[in-house]
């Protein structure tokens, strides 16, 4: 195939809680919206990759969309599921086998924190019995160490959450769309110190669909060319510090799957962090956005303190981050979350962001997810 793989259609079912609608139905909603956006019909879709962690088998949506015999492959890859579906869809077109296809993700999780069981993670039962099988403990311990090493204040964590809710006011697909004052964020009930309840995202529901096409096909459709310059999915290196870790190697906690996925994505795209106009970075908790700014190469460790104080990651800043409020404001339906970031980037690159539009007609956009047990997926889009 010559040219780039392009994203020619996007659709989203609003994130949050939608009683009476299954996760799969939210995925179908997103697919239909994306088909309309691309100006095509379901029988035009040659293949699909679908991701869901807890809401059923994506391929069963052919019942709703039409029994065309289409190739439909299910992807289950933790928090990187959406990124993995997108990567796979890209490769299907790059290979020359197909011209146009779908990456779709959806999910619907029960309320409250995920309750993982030790046996699912190759851990002894006592670890769960004793109360260590808690994702929020890990996230909190990770940022506490980072704040100590790099001089990040708790106020900076609060600023990340404040920005998320402020941006989400202007994102119709976001869940929590009321601004929250910085003092309320900092004084909110503590979940796991230093994090208050406003600094963690919640499991949620939602669906996202992206239609990918060869550059030739995209030109035929007459859509703005949003090019997928890189899509990577990587797993953890040695000495990383991951969720549910009864022990860590001495000197550990610095090497991450994110650093590998990011460096490889920049290499493939042939550009660097300084060339990116806006970024969606995994922010399942406020400190994740802080750490991921550095892990993805946008700043040095510790510089985030000044970046947030100076508003550099605001929509009008030098590198707007999480322009739709990210996971903090949208919640995290695992199968859909990474694709939401790419949806938001396409909206921004097309100039369709409305009152959350990044000014200056951005030409490059970056997305990043990270999750258990040490997986990361990155995309770079160019217009």
């Amino acid at each position: 195939m010559s040219g780039d793989v392009c994203i020619v259609g996007v659709g989203i079912h609003p994130f949050g809680r939608t009683d009476g609608l299954s996760g799969l139905e939210q995925g179908v909603f997103a697919v239909q919206q994306a088909l309309g956006d691309a100006g095509i019909a379901w029988p035009d879709i040659q293949f699909a990759y679908g991701s869901s962690d807890a809401a059923g088998n994506p391929d069963t949506m052919v019942d709703r969309l039409g029994l065309t015999g289409v190739q439909f492959i299910n992807v289950r890859n933790g928090c990187a599921a959406g990124g993995s579906a997108l990567f796979s869809a890209q490769m299907a077109i790059k290979s020359g086998e197909f011209d146009i296809g779908l990456a779709v993700g959806f999910d619907k999780h029960p309320r409250g924190a995920f309750n993982a069981l030790p046996a699912e993670y190759n851990l002894p039962d006592w670890y769960g019995d004793a109360g260590f099988m808690i994702t929020t403990q890990f996230f909190a311990a990770k940022i506490t160490r980072y704040m100590h090493l790099h001089g990040i204040s708790r106020t900076t964590l609060g600023r990340v959450a404040e920005k998320a809710f402020r941006n989400a006011v202007h994102a119709p697909h976001a869940w929590r769309r009321e601004p929250v004052a910085l003092d309320d964020i900092l004084n909110g009930a503590l979940v796991s110190d230093p994090y208050s309840k406003f600094m963690f995202c919640s499991p949620a529901e939602g669906g996202v669909a992206l239609i990918l096409a060869s550059e030739k096909k995209a030109r035929e459709l007459g859509k703005p060319l949003v090019r997928l310059k890189a899509a990577t999915m990587r797993t953890r290196p040695t000495k990383s510090f991951e969720v549910f870790a009864p022990s860590i190697d001495i000197g550990g906690g610095t090497a991450t799957a994110t650093r590998i996925a990011s460096a490889d994505a920049f290499r493939m795209a042939g550009i660097g962090p300084e060339d990116i106009a806006l970024a969606q970075l995994q922010d399942t908790e406020a400190g994740a956005e802080i750490m991921h700014m550095a892990e993805n190469g946008f700043c040095a460790d510790g510089e985030q303190e000044a970046w947030l104080a100076e508003g550099r990651t605001e929509i009008g800043g030098t590198l707007p981050v999480n322009t739709d409020g990210g996971c903090l404001a949208c919640g995290e339906p695992i199968g859909a979350s990474g694709l939401r970031q790419v949806y938001e980037n396409v909206v921004q690159l097309r100039g369709d962001g409305g009152s959350r539009q990044v000014p200056g007609a951005p030409r490059t956009a970056y997305s990043h997810v990270y999750g258990a047990p040490g997986v990361s997926a990155v995309t770079i889009l160019e217009r």
């Binding site: 309750n115 069981l117 110190d193």
Partner: protein, 134 residues
């Protein structure tokens, strides 16, 4: 002592934690995984606080096996010099006195804080000799 699981503590008084040394690489992990790839190794009783948080809400059951009543507890990662960083409870310290680098020593806490006879969980407390940060 009634430990929460077999193979966590040595039989010494006071006990030490039992880690696992990977036979091929020498890398130490905690707890000692089953199988022949790791050999049990008694870990240092003292170390320094690497990171921490406070568990502010009662964990979901399953898997948590503690009592319905809940009081927040600190969770610690403790660097045992030259060995490994282990996760454990932190005890005998006010929350506002916890600081990274503080010297700690091994102890244990009961799963039910109101029943000292309940299963014991690995824990660290401020070291008797020095409380100074590194």
């Amino acid at each position: 002592m009634h430990a929460i699981a077999e193979g966590l503590f040595t039989d010494e008084a006071p006990p030490r934690l039992i880690g696992g040394r990977e036979r091929t690489s020498g890398r130490i992990v905690f707890p000692c995984p089953p199988g022949a790839a790791y050999e049990p190794v008694a870990l240092s009783r003292t170390g320094r606080l690497w990171s921490w948080t406070i568990q502010r809400y009662r964990p979901k059951s399953p898997p948590y096996a503690g009592p319905d009543t809940f009081r927040p507890w600190p969770v610690a990662y403790v660097e045992l010099p030259g060995e490994v960083i282990v996760e454990a409870r932190l005890t005998d310290v006010a929350f506002d006195q916890i600081s990274i680098g503080m010297a700690l020593e091994l102890t244990s806490v009961p799963l039910d804080p109101d029943n000292a006879a309940s299963a014991q969980i690995p824990a660290f407390r401020p070291a008797a000799t020095t409380g100074a940060a590194a």
